[in-house]
């Protein structure tokens, strides 16, 4: 007698993004505000990291609050209701306490019934990692539609007397909905990690986010553009096909250095480059979807634009893919 044969899922031909949403900390904190506490200045911060102001959470505004707000808006912008998705992924590296995770309560509060829900930690590359997982879940037939959220509350992990690091990070969330599509709208991922460089970004004393700024800057400005190029190649496109570049909003000078390298390799001069960090700060896994949402609202990107996303950060971890703007 033959053994029983299992059935496996099969899914749609393609996947695409359906909509974006975002949420930020309620408090606007300027460089001058920070200069009252630490030895720094507006000019110094603007020059080194390009941040004019950042948004920090109110004391009672939790990471999950921001994830819920961003996720709900993404569903609304996609013209969907919570029951239209069945899976929720929250990319985060700042969830206070490991139990419970952020995703289950986020899904419940948004109204996604009995969602498959989990957190994913790839630090600042988290959204790009989660987007890949979401797309493959849909393509494989495991999920119908997935809500992908990057959410961070750095306020809990900052030493406010550390002038090198407290000026960079911020609180907020960004979200995107992924669903099936006849036309491919999410390209293959180029991702990986460099665990030998783990000491460049970590929690000092297990408590405060810390990075070796100069070395991270060198890594990000030299090693990330080739990852982005690889993603374009995997999608079967040329750099000149890219309309919009959305790097993780780590530091405006890193963003500009990546854009410069890609232009030297064939990206267009009129490439639109995300600079959301200027008024949002660095929100780690939230930064890419937040930038996408802001750029869509501002009319800086249009439906059908070919967009190159690239995340990079602690781990070290990196991840890039080409997507089509919904």
């Amino acid at each position: 007698m033959s053994r029983p044969r299992l059935r496996q899922n099969t899914g749609p031909a393609g996947t695409r993004l359906l909509g974006f949403g975002s949420a930020q900390g309620n408090r606007v904190v300027t460089n001058d505000d920070l200069a009252q506490r630490v030895d720094t200045s507006d000019e110094w911060i603007r020059q080194r990291v390009g941040i004019v102001e950042r948004r920090l959470a109110d004391p009672d505004q939790t990471l999950v609050d921001m994830a819920v707000e961003a996720g709900s808006k993404a569903l609304a912008n996609a013209g969907l209701t919570p029951t239209d998705v069945d899976t929720v992924i929250v990319a985060t590296c700042t969830m206070p306490g490991q139990i419970p995770n952020a995703a289950a309560q986020t899904a419940d509060r948004i109204g996604v019934k009995a969602a498959a829900a989990f957190d994913l930690n790839a630090a600042c590359a988290g959204f790009s990692y989660a987007l890949t997982v979401a797309s493959e879940l849909v393509r494989g037939g495991t999920a119908g539609r997935v809500l992908v959220i990057g959410a961070e509350r750095f306020t809990d992990w900052i030493d406010w007397d550390d002038r090198a690091n407290c000026i960079i990070f911020a609180d907020g969330a960004g979200a995107a909905v992924v669903g099936p599509s006849d036309e491919p709208g999410i390209g293959p991922v180029a991702w990986g990690s460099a665990g030998d460089l783990v000491d460049l970004i970590y929690l000092r004393d297990g408590r405060y986010v810390y990075q070796e700024g100069r070395t991270v800057f060198r890594w990000a400005t030299t090693q990330i553009a080739p990852i982005a190029e690889r993603a374009v190649e995997l999608a079967g496109l040329a750099l000149s096909d890219i309309d919009v570049l959305v790097p993780h909003q780590a530091n405006l000078r890193i963003v500009e250095a990546i854009a410069k390298r890609l232009r030297a390799k064939g990206a267009r001069e009129d490439l639109v480059v995300a600079n959301d960090i200027v008024h949002s700060g660095n929100t780690s896994s939230g930064s890419i979807p937040m930038a996408l949402d802001h750029m869509t609202s501002e009319g800086r990107v249009s439906s059908g634009d070919v967009m190159l996303l690239v995340g990079f950060g602690a781990g070290l971890s990196y991840s890039a893919q080409v997507v089509v703007c919904p």
């Binding site: 080194r48 100069r214 070395t215 800057f217 060198r218 000078r253 250095a257």
Partner: protein, 79 residues
């Protein structure tokens, strides 16, 4: 490559990265104090110098290159 040639190439890199007039980039000048080149621009200069001269300039060595002359000597010695 003579020290003079290294200086000439270095002037071009410093101008490209930090917008400093090449006339100003002379051996006795301090990158930070005289030319107003910040630590991140120093990294960009080091990366370009590595490509141009085929030399390794790790961050711990970079911190020791205070003047333009220090950089010229380091490149001449290590390439």
């Amino acid at each position: 490559m003579s020290n003079e040639d290294i200086l000439k190439e270095l002037k071009a890199i410093v101008e490209e990265v930090a917008g400093v007039d090449p006339e100003e980039v002379t051996e006795e000048k301090s990158f930070v104090d005289d030319l107003d080149v910040d630590s991140l621009s120093m990294v960009e200069i080091a990366v370009q110098a590595e490509d141009k001269f085929g030399v390794k300039i790790p961050d711990d060595q970079l911190a020791n290159l205070k003047t333009v002359g220090d950089a010229v000597t380091y490149i001449a010695t290590n390439k």
